[in-house]
């Protein structure tokens, strides 16, 4: 059966949809129409392709991590580990794929002001970057706690000309930044385009963000046969909201022989309250404009989450992942802070690649998988971002003072 989601109203099975205040319904309808028109417009696609190639630096390499493969093989098994190097993109993560696409939409819609939410700051930096290039005013909402945790990215955004507004409501993290961005959008809906950074939010955002990130999976469909000689046995990606994972998975949905594994943040463990793994340990609900798996208490109030990685520290997840979980096409697992940290160090020391803490979660799970598989198996890990932004977090944890 052909996979044809979302439907016209933005549903992925029972998930997705548009759960927002009335003021945003018409702007969302206009965005949906505009995207339907532009996504097949050769001029728009040529402009997007040009940006991805010459500004972002695509295609990103598919790298065979041979030393890591050999090291992990010593524990028995030893599947081949391949890394999709999204960390080599301009601004250091997959996030730019989406911001370049949405910013082009904003330009075509005649919007002059861009807003965004950000957790770790990668999406904020990617948005501020493209806003600078297009000469658009840019405002980024960021939880006050994240502003503290990620001060280098805050400064980068400011250098790029963006205004960074610390959000002091609620838990002062990503979910609250998203609330505040939605409030801004309701208030400035005439001139403002909201660039959502993940595959969450109301329709058409989960579809838009997926489509703009799907360049990752499309490249792999070409690169894997060239490098491996066939498609891989499994692909592994971390899942916070889930944009890097969906970008990798989506073009592979029609290839059932390729196992798709999403890795959520287990924090201190999914049997504790301190994690960010709604697919592994949450239940369906409604948050930020869509129906999906979320973390909430028995009264439906959204829970505080925890992950060492700010980019995974979110109580919801893209609705398409909810559907891929229920339908069984993808599996979702959780990796705790400690193994993610271990994988961070291992890749850094063995391959000379410093991964983002987010991506380190995927890597840690790939290691577990690899030990059960022989060397004729191939696993592709989405190395969704580079870890330069995380060195302060790591240093602090290890009791080292920088600067």
């Amino acid at each position: 059966m052909a996979y044809d989601f979302p439907d016209a109203r933005g549903h992925f099975g029972p998930y997705g949809g548009q759960f927002v205040a009335e003021t945003l319904m018409e702007p969302l309808a206009r965005l949906t129409e505009a995207y339907a028109r532009l996504k097949n417009d050769p001029a728009f696609l040529a402009e997007l392709d040009n940006d991805l190639r010459h500004y972002v630096g695509r295609p990103s390499p598919l790298y065979h991590a041979e030393r890591l493969t050999a090291k992990w093989a010593k524990n028995g098994g030893g599947a081949q580990i391949w890394l999709k190097r999204e960390d080599l993109n301009h601004t250091g993560a997959h996030k730019i794929n989406n911001t370049v696409g949405q910013a082009l939409l904003a330009k075509h819609l005649g919007k002059t002001r861009i807003i965004a939410e950000t957790g770790a700051g990668q999406h904020g930096v990617a948005t501020a970057t493209i806003a600078a290039r297009l000469g658009l005013k840019c405002v980024v909402y960021m939880g006050a706690e994240d502003v503290q945790r990620q001060s280098p990215n805050v400064y980068r955004m400011k250098l790029l000309g963006a205004e960074v507004i610390p959000v002091k409501s609620g838990t002062q993290t990503l979910k609250d930044a998203l609330n505040e961005a939605l409030r801004d959008w309701v208030t400035h809906v005439d001139d403002t385009f909201y660039i959502i950074g993940t595959v969450a939010g109301p329709h058409p955002y989960p579809m838009l963000v997926r489509d703009f990130n799907a360049v990752v999976g499309r490249e792999l469909l070409t690169q894997c046969p060239e490098r491996i000689g066939r498609l891989p046995d499994a692909m592994v990606a971390c899942v916070g909201g889930g944009s890097n994972a969906i970008g990798m998975f989506y073009p592979f949905l029609p290839h059932p022989e390729v196992r798709l594994v999403g890795v959520e943040a287990g924090g201190h463990g999914i049997d504790t309250p301190d994690h960010a793994a709604p697919l592994s340990a949450g239940m369906p609900g409604v948050l930020h404009g869509n129906k999906t798996y979320i973390m909430a208490n028995e009264d439906g109030q959204i829970s505080n989450t925890h992950s060492i990685s700010a980019g995974l520290d979110y109580p919801g997840v893209g609705p398409e992942h909810a559907w891929l979980k229920d339908s069984g096409r993808a599996q979702y697992v959780a990796v705790n802070d400690e193994p993610a940290l271990a994988a961070f160090h291992e890749l850094t020391r063995v391959e000379g690649i410093i991964p983002a803490l987010e991506s380190a979660h995927a890597l840690a799970y790939a290691q577990q998988m690899a030990t059960g598989l022989g060397p004729d198996h191939h696993i592709v890990v989405n190395l969704s971002g580079r870890g330069d932004k995380d060195i302060f977090t790591i240093a602090k944890r290890e009791g080292i003072e920088l600067l």
């Binding site: 759960f19 205040a21 009335e22 319904m25 018409e26 609620g170 609900g285 979320i294 009264d299």
Partner: protein, 268 residues
């Protein structure tokens, strides 16, 4: 005839408009809410909108966000909110109560169980901010079967054809959001609202209440000239915030504030 319909029908006969205060349930504490609801009625409230607090109220400004935080900190749950309505109903059989909030707590409670419990508590209408017409198909029959009027928001961005579609599925009244923004914003343009409400009357016979940005008697009076109801929320919630540490002073303050709005609306 439902309590909401009776209220608008009576007011129409008297040539008056509905004064519809909003407070957040459980703010500053669940034990005070039924008393505050009676105080609102004493000040001239015709319908009460009672907010169901939510951790992530994305359509609300800072005043109501903080009210939600106070209410949740004080232990408010959806079940306790329904108990507040039941308590209010013991001594007030006439004033309609509309619950206003976000979908997730209702989803977690269970829609069927919520609708049954709301009917039993004496709730008259439900306004779910993040449940627009497109997603409401499976919700509306459950609410209406329990005598709960689905109240919908309309906004300055809503095209007229869409307003007509929403009006077909709504009952009780329509809530016209006066401005592009969140609750508690301050740039209400009465002339623009008048034009929109006039257009809306061309597609529906339902009463139209106007809210967002109405904070003083003069604005309430101006809006009463053009609409069937005036919703006042953040201005009241702000007073609750000021007196959160002296809750014994709250009923008199709310009654006085409502009376001033009431007098201004009725004084023409």
């Amino acid at each position: 005839m439902s309590r909401i319909d009776e209220t608008f029908s009576r007011l129409k006969g008297e040539g008056r408009q509905a004064l519809i205060p909003y407070i957040t349930a459980g703010d500053p504490h669940p034990d005070h809410s039924a008393g505050l609801m009676h105080a609102l009625v004493a000040g001239g409230a015709d319908i009460i909108e009672l907010g169901m607090p939510f951790s992530d109220p994305m359509a609300d400004g800072p005043i109501i966000q903080l009210a939600c935080e106070r209410a949740l900190m004080a232990g408010t749950t959806l079940r306790r909110t329904l108990a507040m309505v039941a308590q209010f109903r013991r001594t007030n059989r006439n004033t309609p109560v509309v619950l206003m909030g976000y979908l997730n707590p209702i989803e977690r409670f269970g829609l069927d169980a919520f609708a049954a419990a709301a009917e039993q508590a004496g709730v008259d209408g439900v306004l779910i901010v993040d449940l627009g017409l497109e997603e409401a198909d499976s919700y509306l029959p459950v609410l209406t079967a329990r005598g709960l009027a689905p109240i919908f928001l309309l906004s300055p961005t809503t095209p007229l054809a869409r307003m007509a579609r929403i009006a077909e599925h709504a009952s009780g009244y329509l809530y016209y959001v006066s401005l592009k923004g969140v609750t508690g914003a301050a740039n209400l343009d009465v002339a623009a609202v008048a034009a929109q409400v006039q257009a809306l009357r061309g597609v529906t016979a339902l009463p139209v209440a106007v809210g967002f940005g109405i904070r003083d008697p003069a604005t309430a009076a101006a809006v009463a000239q053009i609409a069937d109801g005036v919703v006042v929320g953040s201005a009241l919630v702000n007073q609750i915030a000021e007196l959160a540490e002296q809750p014994e002073a709250l009923p008199a303050r709310l009654t006085a504030t409502l009376s001033a709005l009431r007098n201004a609306m009725d004084a023409r």
